[in-house]
């Protein structure tokens, strides 16, 4: 048995970035944002005086998650695991939960998400923080390698903190880790503020809410790209979570082909279905994160899979056509129905 890399404490570079207040036009809630985990984190709370405690709690959660589950930090517990070459490992509690959620998501989605997709992503060139891939605008005419299908999540065994990882398998928790981070942060904020008021946490656009929401729910914009000037829709979220996956961003070029970060585990190629963006509401953000990724990978079967899963969703095709499923509202400002129960956490929502 080998022990993991738990106990390392070197902060990631994004942790130097300060929280910055964001003016929203409402003084009954307070909002702040900062860089985190290669994307941005945003916290909204009421009453506004809880903002300091909320930011501190969220920062702690994200720093811990980065150290546990980042594939891009050489000193993370996950990187250590991926370099160790297979075996039996005793994981720290945080990474054990993250791997458990990823395996549960793989089981729920029938392998449309799969944490063993790490080698496939590396072979496509997604082997460092995405910002580093694109930094400087350098030409990337690297020849494409042969696609590497995921070995398959059933090969990975997790029993409590004990992980059996076959040789050659590299784990990537990208389909669930952001959602897990938002869920953990929302819970940590409510704990830090004595469950007073309510909180919304967004990690790269994957949003979890907890506590008592504003009247009619938290107003959440739905956009297909982060820099979209005018959001596609405004919805209200009173409980649970909402997450979006898209092939429109985190794209790079390799061997003459434009690639993106959502890989079909079955082929090792970037998913190439009819949907460019999928937004899903679920009881937890890890559920929503996994489901939106699975829908992109499912391609033409996405609507059937989402309908069977009973999840409200908004899908945008490459031609701009929008489909709404499971009670996703058509009107601006309407509430999003929130399904009960989690498929990825043991014992329900966390």
């Amino acid at each position: 048995m080998t022990c993991g890399a738990a106990g390392l404490t070197r902060p990631g570079p994004w942790q130097r970035a300060p929280w910055q207040r964001v003016a929203t036009g409402d003084d009954t809630v307070a909002v702040a944002e900062r860089a985190a985990l290669g994307t941005s984190a945003r916290v909204a709370v009421w009453p506004p005086e809880n903002l300091g405690a909320a930011c501190a709690a969220t920062g702690d959660v994200l720093a811990a998650l980065d150290l546990q589950a980042s594939r891009f930090r050489p000193d993370s517990e996950l990187s250590w695991l991926n370099e160790a070459g297979g075996g039996l490992y005793m994981l720290g509690d945080g990474l054990a939960e993250a791997v458990g959620v990823a395996l549960a998501a793989a089981r729920w989605t029938g392998g449309l998400t799969d944490p063993t997709v790490g080698a496939a992503l590396v072979s496509l060139g997604y082997d460092r923080d995405f910002a580093a891939i694109s930094q400087g605008g350098e030409p990337l005419g690297i020849p494409a390698l042969a696609p590497v299908p995921a070995p398959g999540w059933p090969l990975v065994r997790l029993d409590g903190p004990l992980l059996r990882l076959p040789p050659g398998i590299r784990l990537d928790l990208g389909a669930t880790a952001k959602g897990l981070g938002s869920d953990r942060a929302a819970r940590a904020v409510m704990s830090a503020t004595g469950a007073e008021g309510g909180v919304l946490v967004s990690l790269g656009g994957d949003i979890a809410v907890a506590g008592t929401p504003p009247r009619d729910g938290w107003p959440v914009a739905v956009a297909e790209e982060p820099d979209q000037a005018v959001p596609s829709q405004l919805v209200r979220l009173a409980a649970g979570a909402v997450a979006t996956s898209s092939v429109s961003c985190r794209r790079w070029r390799r061997g003459g082909a434009v690639l993106h970060h959502i890989v079909d585990p079955r082929t090792g190629h970037p998913a190439d279905g009819p949907w460019r963006t999928v937004t899903v509401a679920a009881a937890t953000c890890a559920d929503a994160n996994a489901a939106s990724t699975a829908a992109i990978v499912a391609g033409a079967r996405a609507q059937d899979w989402l309908t069977t899963a009973g999840l409200p969703a908004r899908l945008t095709g490459h031609d701009g056509r929008v489909r709404r499923l499971g009670g996703w509202p058509a009107d601006d400002g309407a509430p999003v129905p929130v399904p009960r129960g989690s498929h990825v956490y043991p014992g329900g929502p966390r």
Binding site: S202, P213, R215, G310, V338
Partner: protein
């Protein structure tokens, strides 16, 4: 002494006792009714609170009935969006041009303000 005059005080006592009994019974009936109404009202309130709590904090297990959760809301009115659900916050514009007969791919990164990579 006349037997009929001897019986008058006794009849009066019996009538008085009956009147008292009637008032007692009426009071008991009214009190029981009031208590029943109060208990029923409290039970309704408890059920409504339980439903609201279940909507706000859904129970575990398999997916159940969807709800918006708005019935539990008691927070402030917030008019403006506070967050955007979207794909992860880094976008890249890729352009391809030919320089001295070679294809050069240039990418410009757009990241959220304040991002530190």
């Amino acid at each position: 002494m006349d037997p009929s005059s001897r019986g008058a005080p006794r009849r009066e006592s019996i009538r008085q006792a009956r009147r008292m009994s009637n008032w007692t019974a009426a009071a008991l009936i009214a009190g029981t009714g009031t208590a029943a109404v109060a208990l029923a009202h409290q039970a309704h309130q408890a059920t409504a609170a339980g439903v609201a709590a279940a909507v706000a904090a859904p129970a575990g297990g398999t997916a159940g009935t969807a709800g918006t959760g708005t019935s539990a809301a008691a927070g402030p009115a917030v008019a403006h969006s506070v967050a955007t659900t979207t794909a992860s916050g880094v976008t890249v514009t890729t352009t391809t041009r030919t320089v001295n007969g070679k294809t050069v791919v240039t990418r410009v990164r757009h990241a959220p303000a304040g991002q530190d990579d």
